[in-house]
Assembly symmetry: C2
Homo-oligomer: 599 residues x 2
């Protein structure tokens, strides 16, 4: 934890951005609460994401439960393959990530991709110790710890369920229904914003490593042979890229380019991934990520998730570390194939593709002899029969030899071909069923909130003074409070309070603050990231009703004198980015000149 | 399940409002997915709730995790007291709610409030059977089933955690931090919109009984001696009330009144509950709940939750049953007292109330003799010492007798007073610490979505025709799609598609549909609840660019001919309720006259 991070945390706690949940009970690692200001920023970022990635793109949003039954995660591969390496201290009992202990204390990177035994050997070789109590960890087993939170659905423990590790499976498992809403036509995309869970072994830190977090995921289902993204829209977008090759090369480094060049030169292989990196880049900048502290890094082959064939991460710089905030993955058809195999209903997870003209082809109609299959496979006999019939339709030549092997939900069986009557017929088909390919941008909203706050926090001189101030220079588009209404004297408290109520009724997030010296109140709003203060001065109040107010700009501390009938419209335009404060300097009487911001 | 409900479910599945999650895996009771249209309605209702109950009221919103450690729920009383009655069938093993079996098959109401043994006797007496397989349940134990989903935080099972059964505990447990953001001054209110979980025994049905659901909760912290709600604002609001007394009387029935009268006559005892019922009533009607199918029913004394001293439910009529959609509870200071006692930090959950003038009072300064306390209480000795010191400050007379009893986190201990040096001193105090009282409106968002859809669904004649149509007559404020852009001929497909993109960029939720006959497309949008269709007719397209379009009103099927430059502004105004379709009939050329709706 650096000074800057330390400073952010203390501001966050004081102002109400975030704090550890249930501190008075000791708290649990990785469980944090967003206070009023943090929630305000998060809601604005979520809504802006929805507008940009769902509404503007013409996609649809769904909402699936966070708890799902075991079968879904058996199919998705999370039950078996979604593990971290755990080592337990024999002395204090503390559980730790074995790969992190190796990485933190040796020159080795990416220890996560090594086999458990090799990590055990490295611990012994380097005589690594427990970070809590210093006890030697040599000889301790490194075991797989599944990252899903487990629970039971209903009474007893007979129906295991899990908290989803990603929102995506709620989309994939019900693909058959979602495709129906799209008239069974590709391409289409489904988004979801919601909680996901990873039961980390020993998370330290705050919003950057949560056990419960919010994802905004987009699953784009395409036929890569037919569909292309609108690359023209993002061709000129500048990006900093750090491809896998550059990471492996001795003199490799991230470099600046544009989306268009990256596609033309094959740096980003998939045009859909390039497209989403392009629009995401523009979005990050709009919500306040510093483009100089943002890069896109390609996963190295041994680093990718079990379902991905290519993946790029958006990373933000936080005090010289890089934090993954979004993954742009090519998931191929991995998930849909798995759900098809595990439910036994393959076509539910496919799209029917009509041929240009009907095609006639030879097919094998198989008629399994149940007097042989029945006794041999018992309860599974029916499933074997259906699998043989599917095999006949899909791959006639499989029945040419002495045996044929078919896949069941969880394993293969081999059947002698003479237990199956095989008839070869000519069949006319109108089309075939294909699995769509899936491109997935997956955004970690809490880490994006954390990065926006980090990049916005500044300690500078109060413009035109020697005093220091802490400023959270959030853009109006994400600021939790757009404006604070501040009465300058207590004689105008009531008038100012009514004004605040009116602005709230107009839908504007407005705070009222009557407490303390005006300078102190400005400082408090600067720290909370409030872009504008609306000061009610007795001079602007006639017979108890407000006629004119000053609007103060947080960053320049300039003030203008505005008729109250313009106020709501001006604030609305400032929030939407339709106007800048500079426009107000031109339109209204200036009461305080803008001061140059401290460097 | 009635015909109407059946009809809603089939529309819901077909159009994309809701469906059971992971159907292809068999699904789990109580876990449902909102499709694109259902998610659209829910997001609009959530955002409108936020605007009305957070922004307009000047409250703040926070976001706590859904997983919390056991200590929080031990304090809140959910670990011990949050149970349903379970009976298991000895034959088929099905678990059922014992109280429901009794209620469904005898004249008895509210079996939930009876002791388990009495429910066992009723099962035997009435020879009640398993609803699944018909086996006699006589002699089966009725046991408590805790409704919280249990899990473990981190590796192993040493740190039990639970999925929250209400969002509220995330607010109460961190009250010390939230009061700090409010300058430690009452009154203030904190809201939260998020998932909660109840591991129901055997939920049937859809959105009306979910194991995972969304709550919008508001916790208002007040000093009842000092703070009053703004009752004038809601005095005239008409409501249908069904007080506890009327439910118990032989000839009692719900009756119509106003909030003002209900308070004046003492029907609603707490003015804050009356206030929130009033603004909630207006809100329900705005989002599309039929006021004739909405009532407010007071809980009977044996029906209230463990923390509530009074509670009213808002209930909607769904096919002659009444469904609880919101609870308005007086939680007193129950939760804050519990968290104070369990954390051992009582003042963290209190507000400092300054006296008008400082007061001098006698206090006991206690100095426990650790040579006695230490050996007797061992590890707890320090806690006992602190408890004695607190006792001295709070209640000097407790030290008058031979022994003094103090409360620790989890139990009481008694100490002989001669093990404590007691010094009586005069102390001047500036004020004291008091627990705020809590008023809680708690909204079940999914049930509200379900009620809005139920009340909106109509099967009527197509105006001006003998054909039937299914119409989801959702108000523009909650409709998932505001407008569908429909090209009338395929020559204007591209122009219409660009127009849809433009409207989306303006932030409007717009669908594009080029498939099939125009009448069919209107029917599809009627069923999906889309209030307006924007039809692009070749007549309105000049040189490939759209100049005029028709806007069709779903309910009256009237159509007006509108210049495209007015379109985005008119749709925005229609969505916000700033304009009605009737205003467009006056402003523009009418292409199809409004048809009277079928009765």
């Amino acid at each position: 934890m650096t000074d800057h991070d330390d400073n952010l945390r203390s501001v966050a706690k004081r102002v109400g951005f975030f704090h550890q949940t249930a501190e008075n009970y000791g708290g649990e690692g990785g469980l944090w609460t967003l206070g009023p200001h943090g929630t305000g920023v998060k809601r604005r970022i979520e809504n802006d994401w929805r507008q940009r990635f769902t509404v503007e793109e013409g996609h649809v949003e769904i909402e699936a439960p966070t708890v799902m039954g075991e079968a879904v995660f058996e199919a998705s591969g999370h039950l078996d393959g979604f593990d971290d390496m755990l080592v337990e201290c024999p002395q204090c009992g503390q559980s730790e990530r074995a790969d992190h202990i190796v990485e933190d204390n040796t020159g080795i990177e990416e220890a996560e991709s090594l086999p458990n035994e090799e990590v055990e050997s490295l611990i012994a070789e380097h005589e690594l110790v427990c970070p809590e109590c210093g006890t030697d960890l040599t000889g301790q087993s490194v075991i797989d710890h599944n990252l899903m939170f487990e629970t039971s659905i209903g009474p007893g423990s007979s129906t295991p369920g899990y908290l989803r590790p990603e929102t995506a499976q709620g989309i994939f498992a019900d693909f058959h229904r979602l495709k129906q809403y799209e008239n069974k036509q590709l391409p289409f995309a489904v988004t979801q914003i919601g909680r996901s869970y990873r039961n980390e072994i020993s998370p330290r830190g705050g919003l950057e490593r949560l056990r419960e977090f919010t994802q905004a995921e987009l699953e784009h289902f395409i036929d890569p042979a037919k569909h292309e993204p609108d690359l023209e829209r993002v061709r000129e977008v500048p990006v900093t890229l750090y491809p896998s090759e550059a990471q492996q090369a001795d003199d490799g480094a991230p470099f600046d380019t544009t989306i268009g060049e990256a596609v033309d030169e094959g740096v980003i292989a998939d045009p859909w991934i390039a497209y989403y990196i392009g629009i995401a880049k523009e979005w990050y900048v709009r919500i306040g990520i510093d483009p100089a502290r943002l890069r896109f890094r390609q996963h190295q082959p041994d680093e990718r998730a079990h379902y991905a064939s290519d993946c790029w991460d958006a990373e933000t710089e936080i005090d010289s570390d890089w934090l993954e905030v979004t993954g742009f993955a090519d998931r191929g058809s991995y998930d849909l194939r798995k759900h098809g195999a595990h439910t036994g209903d393959e076509t539910a997870y496919q799209i029917f593709r009509p041929f240009d003209a009907p095609r006639t082809e030879e097919q094998v109609v198989v008629d399994p002899d149940m007097s042989v299959i029945g006794p041999e496979f018992g309860e599974q006999a029916d499933a074997v029969k259906q699998a043989l019939e599917r095999k006949g339709a899909a791959d006639p030549s499989a029945f040419d030899g002495d045996t044929v092997t078919v896949e069941l939900g969880n394993g293969e069986v081999t059947v002698p071909t003479d237990a199956v009557d095989v008839e070869r017929v000519e069949v006319t088909k109108e089309g075939d069923h294909e699995h769509p390919k899936i491109i997935e941008p997956s955004f970690g909203i809490d880490r994006i909130v954390y990065s926006v706050l980090h990049h916005a926090l500044e300690v500078d001189a109060v413009p035109g003074s020697d005093d220091q101030r802490t400023v959270m220079s959030l853009d109006p588009v994400v600021a939790p409070t757009l404006a604070a209404v501040l009465p300058l004297r207590d004689t105008v408290d009531d008038a100012a309070r009514s004004l605040a109520d009116e602005l709230r009724s107009a839908g504007l997030p407005v705070e009222f603050d009557a407490g303390g010296r005006i300078g102190r109140r400005y400082r408090r709003q600067d720290e909370a990231g409030t872009p504008f203060c609306v000061t009610v001065d007795p001079e602007g109040v006639v017979d108890g009703s407000v006629e004119r107010v000053t609007i103060r700009d947080r960053d320049s501390t300039a003030q203008v004198w505005v008729p109250v009938e313009d106020l709501a419209a001006e604030l609305t335009a400032l929030q939407a980015g339709a106007r800048e404060f500079d426009d107000l300097l031109e339109a209204y009487q200036i009461r305080t000149e803008p001061k140059a911001e401290a460097a």
